[in-house]
């Protein structure tokens, strides 16, 4: 057996791959569920915080800034570990899935609040005054005038952040979430063969590569034309 054959036999072993394919596929489902939950709740919470901040209530804004800074400074893995291994000492013991979801959603919330807020403040004050003077209410001004313009500005940085944070679902493996990496790792230790890991790697590429390419496209589409 030549070196190449042995390499293929080790890293792309057909038998092992066939055996563990269902595990990897179920891992993919968990990763997708987790990713969607994080994106929806994280961006939603981020937008909500940015809107709250636009009300201009001083003490509330300080609190929001502190929360945002906190979740921007802490490494996501530290938040996950704290939630999963720390919280149970105080009573509630969230599962690995919930810990990973909440932690990454909080991180995405922090980053997206910053971006949404920067988008909102970048709209000149005169736009607010002009819309209000035509008789639009505060809410109408916000949703029909300010946000549509702000969104356009925020899309490139937002897609980048969202992808980077969503990739963090792999961190769930540290707290026993059965997502792709978790499934692949346990398959490697059961089969004494690295092929499942290669499948797991391929699964991530299948899931995220199209997203990255789409993001590139969106970036050029929404780039601010000067």
């Amino acid at each position: 057996m030549g070196g190449w054959d042995r390499f293929v036999e080790t890293f792309f072993n057909a038998k092992v791959m066939a055996k563990y394919l269902p595990d990897i596929l179920s891992g993919m489902v968990v990763t997708i569920e987790l990713a969607l939950l994080i994106v929806v709740t994280g961006l939603g919470a981020g937008l909500a915080l940015a809107l709250l901040r636009s009300l201009g209530i001083r003490p509330l804004n300080w609190l929001i800034i502190f929360i945002v800074d906190l979740f921007r400074s802490l490494p996501p893995l530290v938040i996950i570990v704290l939630m999963y291994f720390g919280l149970p000492y105080a009573g509630p013991s969230p599962s690995g899935f919930v810990s990973t979801w909440l932690s990454l959603a909080l991180v995405l919330m922090a980053f997206s609040e910053e971006i949404f807020w920067a988008g909102i403040t970048s709209i000149p004050r005169g736009q607010w005054e002009a819309s209000r003077s035509t008789g639009l209410s505060y809410g109408q001004t916000l949703f029909n005038v300010i946000l549509p313009q702000a969104f356009r500005l925020t899309i490139p940085p937002l897609t980048n952040r969202t992808i980077a944070i969503t990739k963090g679902t792999a961190l769930g493996t540290v707290v026993a979430v059965t997502e792709i990496l978790g499934q692949a790792s346990s398959a490697v230790s059961n089969s004494y063969n690295p092929s499942p890991l290669m499948m797991g790697a391929a699964a991530y590429i299948v899931l995220f590569f199209p997203v990255v390419v789409a993001a590139r496209w969106i970036e050029t589409k929404f780039a601010w034309k000067r």
Partner: protein
């Protein structure tokens, strides 16, 4: 509550362990940040050769690592390579994974920076007799770096946070040591200590970035 999460006796007991973890996190950052910057600079310089045969494979390379979770890369190196007879140890795996992953991010930033310098600058520099390399080194790069400084800082913040992944492959950095201390003391205080340390170290950088980013986004209009 305070007894559980901010236990003074545990803080005293765990202090030396957590501090040695902090020291290792700083060392690790001092190694992986320059490594990533170096990788990124190489990628960006290659990308400035505007030949499609160079540009497209580079774009694919960068997008590949943007799509690939760093932890998966790390585990692949740490748990996969030994099967090929190559046992590198956690520290080397972290260094390689970071070189590949963060290098791609830094590369994108440098590339955007180089693109932001008007072509006339290169032409003017070349017409004064500077070589291509000299024009890049003395005219384009200094302006490019200045233009993307906030992005470079922001990515550096992410890289320092990412060193916590080292704990997964037994590199004794801050998070790893905190978890060791936690399992020795049956108390979550050491992890809280680690979180507080990360926050105290990185908060000034986050504040600074928040200012720079707001200004940059507003300035794009």
């Amino acid at each position: 509550m305070i007894q559980t999460f901010f236990n003074l006796d545990i803080i005293v007991a765990a202090w030396p362990i957590v501090m040695s973890g902090l020291w290792n996190t700083i060392l690790l950052s001092l190694i992986v940040v320059p490594l990533g910057l170096f990788g990124g600079l190489i990628l960006a310089l290659l990308a400035s050769i505007r030949h499609p045969l160079v540009r497209w494979p580079l774009m694919a390379w960068v997008d590949f690592f943007r799509a690939f979770p760093p932890l998966v890369l790390l585990v692949l190196l740490f748990a996969g390579l030994p099967f090929a007879g190559l046992e590198l140890g956690g520290f080397a795996c972290v260094a390689i994974a970071f070189f590949l992953n963060t290098g791609s991010y830094y590369g994108e930033i440098f590339r955007a920076g180089i693109d932001s310098v008007p072509n006339g600058q290169v032409e003017a520099a070349r017409s004064t007799g500077l070589s291509r390399m000299q024009a890049m080194r003395y005219v384009v790069l200094p302006q490019a770096v200045r233009n993307v400084l906030p992005d470079l800082l922001s990515n550096t913040l992410e890289v320092v946070k990412l060193t916590s992944l080292g704990s997964v492959v037994a590199v004794p950095e801050l998070l790893y040591e905190a978890r060791q201390a936690q399992s020795l003391t049956y108390n979550p205080t050491p992890i809280v200590m680690a979180a507080v340390i990360y926050f105290l170290i990185l908060w000034p950088l986050v504040r600074l970035l928040s200012r720079l980013e707001n200004r940059a986004l507003a300035g794009r209009r």
